[in-house]
């Protein structure tokens, strides 16, 4: 079924705005709105009027975001395990453990990434005949170790870097969890845009 270009344009702007707002169920919502548009068209309303009644795509997406992200059903205790997890995340974010997690994962992640890149770089340099005396010091625990063969550095380096990236990914997910909990828990009345 071909779609009218005005509707297609509206829906693509709407879906983009929905995604930006962080709503996970954006595809479902878009499908709902398509269905509502179809209902109006079936009743003989002109396309321009239907879209005008919905308001701009961005404003409609904001309305959905305001309705779904700012309020919870009953201002009572969380009902699902994920709800409890979110609440704990919220508490942690305001406590001492939040900064500890951020500092630990942040710095370790950075250090691992740096070490990983350094090791890989040195390993590659070895292949070209430079840095022949370098060795991976935590694999080789005594001073008498021979310089590490290039393949060892080239193997260890990416592994360290990957671990560093994983640490940063964990940190990023944690930050998103906290942010999402903060927005989902009704803290103070906000007027919907």
């Amino acid at each position: 079924m071909t779609q009218h270009p005005l509707i297609a344009g509206y829906m693509s702007r709407f879906e983009a705005a929905l995604k930006r707002s962080g709503l996970k169920e954006w595809a479902d919502i878009a499908s709902d709105v398509r269905s509502h548009i179809a209902e109006a068209l079936e009743h003989g309303k002109p396309i321009a009027e239907v879209l005008a009644a919905l308001g701009s795509a961005e404003a409609l997406a904001r309305s959905y975001a305001a309705e779904l992200l700012l309020r919870s059903a009953d201002n009572s205790a969380p009902k699902t395990p994920l709800g409890w997890l979110k609440l704990i995340a919220l508490v942690v974010a305001h406590g001492i453990t939040g900064p500890i997690i951020v500092v630990t994962f942040g710095f370790c992640g950075l250090a691992l990434l740096g070490a990983g890149l350094l090791n890989t770089g040195v390993g590659i340099a070895k292949l070209f005949g430079y840095a022949t005396a370098a060795k991976v010091s935590f694999i080789c625990l005594t001073a008498e170790c021979a310089p590490s063969p290039p393949w060892q550095l080239v193997l260890v380096g990416p592994f360290l870097a990957a671990t560093g990236l994983i640490f940063w990914w964990v940190l990023w997910r944690y930050a998103r969890l906290v942010a999402h909990s903060l927005s989902a828990v009704p803290v103070a009345p906000r007027s919907a845009a």
Binding site: E25, E39, L60, S63, Y64
Partner: protein, 113 residues
């Protein structure tokens, strides 16, 4: 008289109650709910207010949707109350009555106790 921001906020407050009440009589689809509300003057809410509200009611499991084939066009999405929705409506009706009475009393007697 043009509507004030206050009326708009007031409507936003009561819209859930009214939509649940409308759905208690019979299930309906989005466009029709908008049309029905339009008959109630200041209660008339635009599509950009109503559709997100319907979505939230569905997320909160106060309503559920089902598809009904329509004569010419894609299947329509109908909304109907769930048991939880009926409880919610009853609770909101009580709260509304209490609030409305309190407001009337305040307007009538002011600070005189």
């Amino acid at each position: 008289m043009p509507e004030t921001e206050w009326t708009s906020q007031l409507r936003r407050g009561v819209l859930e109650l009214c939509v649940l009440r409308l759905l208690r009589d019979e299930p309906n689809y989005g466009y029709q709910i908008v049309a029905t509300l339009a008959a109630f003057g200041p209660l008339a809410a635009g599509e950009n207010t109503l559709y997100p509200l319907l979505r939230r009611l569905k997320t909160d499991k106060h309503v559920e949707t089902y598809a009904v084939d329509s004569p010419n066009g894609p299947p329509r999405q109908y909304f109907r109350l769930t048991a939880r929705g009926r409880q919610r409506l009853a609770a909101l009706e009580t709260e509304w009555t209490d609030m409305a009475r309190a407001v009337e009393r305040c307007l009538k007697q002011g600070g005189a106790v």
